[in-house]
Symmetry: C2
Subunit: 245 residues, 2 copies
């Protein structure tokens, strides 16, 4: 198929997907670049591929050839990609739920995407996002995940309710706090098989109601002149330590 | 002092500092927000403070009151701060040079800033930046450092020459590579007192000439389905491990 008009019905719908409200109502989102499109295809979430009409892109999927203007309208990069994909929203079932990460109000898309990428690297089974966490299908989040978004179960939910369910299963809930915290180097191996770690908002940390549900706090030993680490860095070091034996 | 005109000579000079070439020729840079201004004052690099004319900002430094329009012209945020500082470029002398980080072509400002912040947290004495690394005085870099930029010696230089000097002092040069790499958990304590770690560009890693000078490669043990970590995450985990005893 070849589409050259920005007024084409399908293209008009796709452009709307740059806004969260339309991603939510159509249950679709945009991805950019060949790597992400291939990951979407492999994981079964790809619905459509738009390719620049002059570009010979090899992929085992029906392509829609479009103009430069159309790709530019769909992209949020200064230099748009030659290949853009449309996906259905991801719905993965976790194979187990022993290693859980909960994000309580993360606002920066780069942080969320990076945390997702690292979580998969360090064996997290499932991520829960609080309702006020930045949209998972924001283009910057997706880019920062480097395609890992298609392989790790992630659910937006009422985290307070979810934490209570997890506690009920006997899984320890960890927050982060230097005061009365446990140095992460002192977490024993048997504690590393089942855990739920909650990481909070960039500026404010965990909200009060979440803090109330925490069983133990963790801290990362570091130079006393540095007040804190970026949340994606802190999360990554904690998750790394929980895989370290 | 009170300035209301964007045509004021000083303001015109300050606005130019949003561009790298003027930061380089005037040897100055812009910072935004009270926290950074206070860190700049404490560390002795603050030259001027511009404060919104209606804002009663308490700081032990001569203030220049300005209009909303002037602050907006100096800011690169959607919502400009009420306080903007002008600093002289930072020139710190390292107290020792046993724990060295070299960045070879990092392009993303957020990554550079975050790496600087984490480096201070994990005891790095000195950072060297390759000539093609993103500008240290880019506003996004400074924001991501959270003020740590004023306290950690950082030098842009010919890193090939620098690595040769460091090698000559008998310090081990570490790169990163899964193939033939050492799992970072196996670095022994005596190796953690003196080291030089080189981290490469987001897409391409170390350039060939840098790789040639590496003594040992490091890798981070992780899930085999994940190809790599974000460079600021990988750097942070490696530096964390080098402080871990």
């Amino acid at each position: 198929m070849y589409i050259s008009s920005l007024e084409n019905k399908k293209i008009k719908e796709y452009i709307k997907l740059k806004q969260k409200k339309y991603r939510d109502s159509y249950n679709k989102f945009i991805i950019e670049g060949e790597h992400l499109v291939e990951e979407a295809l492999n994981s079964g979430f790809l619905l459509d591929v738009l390719v620049l009409d002059t570009y010979d892109y090899q992929i085992d999927f029906e392509k829609t050839y479009v103009t430069k203007e159309i790709l530019k309208s769909l992209s949020d990069l200064d230099n748009h990609s030659l290949v853009i994909g449309i996906c259905k929203k991801i719905d993965l079932t976790p194979s187990s739920q022993n290693k859980i990460l909960i994000l309580d109000g993360i606002q920066d898309p780069g942080n969320l995407g990076t945390i997702i990428r690292t979580s998969k690297a360090f064996g997290i089974d499932m991520i829960f996002l609080s309702e006020d966490t930045v949209d998972l299908y924001n283009s910057k989040v997706i880019r920062a995940t480097q395609g890992i978004i298609f392989y790790l179960p992630i659910k937006r939910c009422d985290i307070i309710h979810e934490i209570k369910l997890i506690k009920h299963k006997g899984i320890t809930i960890y927050g982060t706090d230097v005061i009365n915290g446990i140095d992460i180097r002192n977490i024993s191996n048997y504690q590393k098989d089942k855990f739920c770690i909650i990481m909070g908002n960039e500026g404010n940390g965990l909200r009060y109601q979440t803090k109330e549900l925490v069983d133990k706090n963790l801290y990362i030993n570091m130079d006393s002149t540095v007040e804190s680490l970026n949340v994606s860095i802190a999360t990554s070091i904690i998750l790394y330590e929980f895989t370290r034996r």
